[in-house]
Amino acid sequence: MEFGALIKFYRTQRGMTQTELAKGICSVPHLSKIENNSKEANEATVSLLLSRLHINFKEIEEKEELIHNLLQQLGEKINFYLKDKADEVYQKLQEIEDIIPFSTYIHLYELYKYRYLLFRGLLDEAELQKDLLFKQKKNFSQHEEYLFSYFNAVCLIMKGHYKAADEILEALYNDPSNERSNADFFYHRAFVKGSLEQSGHAIHFGKVALQLFMNEHNFFRILHTLMMLGINYTHSNIYEEAEDSFRHLIRNAELLNEEKLLPQIYHNMGFLQNKRNKPKDALDYYEKSLALQPIKNQHYLVTLYSIGEIQYSLNEVAKAKESFQVVSSLAKDLGIKKYRLLADFYLFHIISPDKAFKYLEAKVIPHLEGTKEHKNDLTRFYKMLSDFFRQQGSYLEAVNYLNKII
């Protein structure tokens, strides 16, 4: 504990001068040196000064221990994905926030605050916290530096910047001085690899994470990892493993009454059936998923869009039109441009394919190319445009789009 700074903090907070505080305990220059941490004060002097400020020396030492315990608990609750419990611990830390700057845990506290804000999805506040931490970076210990880089990678994942996140995680993984047996770390590695369409790597890291989560009986994260594995098995056409993962998940989520996760699992089961060329089964799962989603958020949007696509592929044009109209307006409300553009493309296509392809070229492609995160969508649309131009007899444009795929 930095007692000098602590004494100065409480003295000024109580409106006392150095003379008033030092009277009968030590000289004013001595107090000044203590406050500036240029002189190591003996315990008796510190105790007398603190008692004049109505602060108990023992209490302060206990607080240092309390901060340490609470930080450990916060990290644990986040790792175990226990939102309410993490809120409770964070609240307790906030109650003693005044004293934390004088403890040895000042940087660790600010780092875990950053992680907590990310965990709660408060991205704007997390960005501000990141800026604050960046200024303190040169004073970090090796462990604190590791945490800062790792949490920055988590921040990038949440913003959808998977490539940059992958580079950070790769560097941390390759540095032998860093701790590497952390289950969360492997989970995030798998997450990034999956999002970058590197399913083989995602499966590898996902399996490591799953084993580590199982060792610590981390139940929520086991479910999350199984879901990620299911998605990546689907991407890699390992359908039986994917189906096993999803069935296992459905069983457990139903058992646990996991209302939030269940519709997501049904959605991904639909995604698997669609990949297996079973559109009707896929539609069943997507509809089951949609029925369990009371809030019209981004997940609802993705499920409804997937339903619209299948309805269109099954030639149920009227139903598809209805779905895409809802997607378009909901995407506008939620500010998710990609799905608004995609839904509008289909809505145009229902009326006039020519108009739709012009829209695809003028609006959808530039947006997808601009974000650099939609390789799958782009490949499909390049192919579509190439076919369109070929049929129009515009071979140069057709080749141009084919080359973009290469």
Binding site: F191, H224, T225, L261, Q264, S313, P353, R390, N403
Partner: protein
Amino acid sequence: MKKAIIVLFSLALLVCAAPVNDANPVNVADSTQDHPIYPPV
């Protein structure tokens, strides 16, 4: 140079492969997209 050859070759292939009076529209729904929902970060 290599790119130019690829372009010319692809062009030739396309011209040869193009059916005369192709009346079928491009099927936009023949391969629906992969849109999984990822678990929480």
